[in-house]
């Protein structure tokens, strides 16, 4: 099978041609770096994305705490991920990188906060 993948690893957006039947025998053209090779192969077999969103937080002047997965998770899980975090409420203070779930949706990937927020008013 042949597939053209626009790499999203970095802003260069390389167009990578993948010719494949299995993960192992995939032949690639047009990639700019090693990360692009891994991305393009994943894109053909199991596309993954970094999930980012925000969850409720109390005890601070900011009402939402931004969160992310520490690595990309399967693309098919994105909607489920968005629904799963609706029930999460954090309480300030929170440190950037604080773990909310260390096996998010059974992916072995962590869900963490992306902002340090003191208790009470703005910094």
């Amino acid at each position: 099978m042949k597939k053209t993948v626009t790499c999203t690893v970095c802003p260069n957006g390389c167009e990578i041609e993948v010719d494949y039947t299995t993960r192992e025998d995939a032949a690639l053209m047009g990639y700019g770096c090693k990360r692009g090779i891994a991305y393009a192969i994943d894109e053909c077999f199991e596309p993954k994305r970094t999930f980012t969103s925000s969850v409720k937080i109390t005890g601070s002047d900011r009402r939402m705490m931004p969160v992310r997965t520490t690595a990309p998770i399967p693309k098919d899980l994105l909607i489920k991920a968005a629904q799963a975090i609706n029930s999460v409420t954090l309480e300030a203070p929170v440190k950037c990188g604080q773990v909310i779930d260390d096996d998010f949706l059974g992916t072995k990937v962590k869900l963490v906060t992306t902002l340090t927020l003191e208790r009470g008013d703005a910094q």
Binding site: P11, E15, S53, M64, T114
Partner: protein, 417 residues
């Protein structure tokens, strides 16, 4: 009323302002103050909770708040002083007049760095006809309402403009369970980065309608529908082919305008194309004690570029404040064939590498980028493809910069469409 004296004052605590301030401090400025009108540092990055920042600068993929926090930690380590909740009103000679709840504050400075960023173009800037119902937001406002305040903004959304914030909001809304019906772009090509089309539109099967625009907005209390028409090669709507799309919300992602009101109070020369100050490679404006960086200088697509550019601005602002920056003769830097603009617009022929940032006019493949002076080609680079949505950069070596003569011209030639 309290007055301050400092070597360098920076207006704006976003990524540009923080990078400039830290760099000024590291390059010898003893006292550096940042004035910020909001109650937190970070600027627009506070609401950009998606990943994709820092790949070039930090070599890892960060979200906006993470990128901002690294810089605000560095600022604190470097003893940068922040005046938060403080608005800069006017530049009067070498005094910045500000106001906050304590009253008027005068900050006397050696040099000033403009880092105020941009604001969004609105419906009024586009003059879209139709009624004036609720449910029309600029994409960045919607981003703040959702990501920072946790509000829902609508159920069925149409997005006008294929800028990066608009596409990122298309994904954000889709993840919230909101139906994004279309992204409409008047140009025949994407305004933002290709990677955002892939991961924000294609992933969620959101149609991108190129060479289309909105010609009417209908609704009394709330948006009910928009009328969309294809445009001809002169970007004129073909009304016979118009169709309507039902929606309750319209997002506008139609460009940014550098926020240069403060700049004008100092009578700094502005570029008609970038809408930012005209500067040399030191990011120095025609008022030698005023420097500019970040989106207030020209609209960037990557914060990583902003950080690098702003470090230059901060460094040279510190050197000028200390009387160590000799301003030699400047030659003009111009946009040649196939190039929309180049920043800087002027170059001092002196030692030190010169980064030239520019945008091409139209997308194309097998592009040759060149920098020439009156004697001939100084530098060229071949790229597989270029698009106006992506800023290009060429670095002229100090040796070539020092010996350049006449004027510099940056051009782009496509061998394929």
């Amino acid at each position: 009323m309290k007055d301050y004296d400092c070597n360098v004052v920076v207006v704006g605590a976003g990524p540009a302002g923080m990078a400039a301030a830290i760099s000024a401090k590291k390059n010898g400025a003893q006292r550096v103050i940042i004035v910020e009108r909001e109650n937190r540092t970070g600027g627009i990055l506070k609401q950009c909770i998606h990943a994709g920042f820092g790949l070039q600068y930090f070599g890892e993929e960060l979200t906006g708040p993470e990128y901002a926090e690294r810089f605000s930690n560095l600022a604190k380590e470097n003893e940068i002083e922040f005046l938060l909740d403080t608005t800069a009103l006017e530049i009067k000679d070498k005094t910045l007049v500000c106001v906050n709840t304590r009253g008027i504050i005068n900050i006397r400075f050696g040099t000033l760095v403009l880092a105020m960023g941009c604001r969004e173009r609105t419906r009024a800037n586009l003059t879209i006809p139709g009624s004036r119902p609720a449910g029309i937001y600029t994409a960045g406002t919607a981003q703040k309402l959702i990501n920072v305040y946790g509000h829902k903004i609508g159920k069925e959304v149409v997005i006008l403009g294929s800028g990066d914030i608009g596409m990122i909001m298309a994904r954000r809304l889709s993840l919230q369970g909101v139906k994004v019906k279309a992204v409409i772009e008047i140009m025949p090509y994407l305004a933002g980065l290709e990677r955002n089309k892939v991961q924000c539109l294609d992933d969620f099967n959101i149609p991108l309608m190129l060479s289309h625009t909105i010609v009417d907005i209908t609704g009394i209390d709330r948006v009910e529908k928009v009328t969309v028409a294809p445009v001809d090669e002169n970007r004129k709507p073909i009304m016979e082919k118009a169709e309507t799309i039902d929606c309750d919300t319209l997002l506008l992602s139609v460009g940014l305008i550098p926020e240069n009101e403060l700049t004008r109070t100092a009578d700094v020369a502005l570029s008609g194309i970038t809408k930012g100050a005209t500067v040399n490679q030191y990011k120095q404006t025609d008022k030698p004690y005023i420097f500019a960086c970040g989106n207030v200088l020209h609209v960037n697509d990557l914060v990583d570029h902003v950080s690098h550019e702003s470090e230059d601005a901060g460094k040279f602002a510190a050197l000028y404040a200390a009387g160590k920056l000799d301003k030699g003769a400047e030659i003009p830097v111009e946009a040649g064939e196939g190039v929309r603009y180049v920043c800087p617009q002027k170059m001092v022929c002196a030692d030190g590498n010169v980064d030239l940032y520019f945008r091409t006019l139209v997308p194309g493949r097998n592009t040759t980028l060149t920098v020439s002076d009156d004697t001939g080609v100084l530098l060229s680079k071949k790229l597989i493809r270029t698009t106006p949505g992506t800023i290009e950069k060429l670095t002229l070596s100090g040796e070539k910069a020092k010996n350049a003569s006449g004027r510099l011209v940056v051009s782009a030639e496509h061998k394929g469409a």
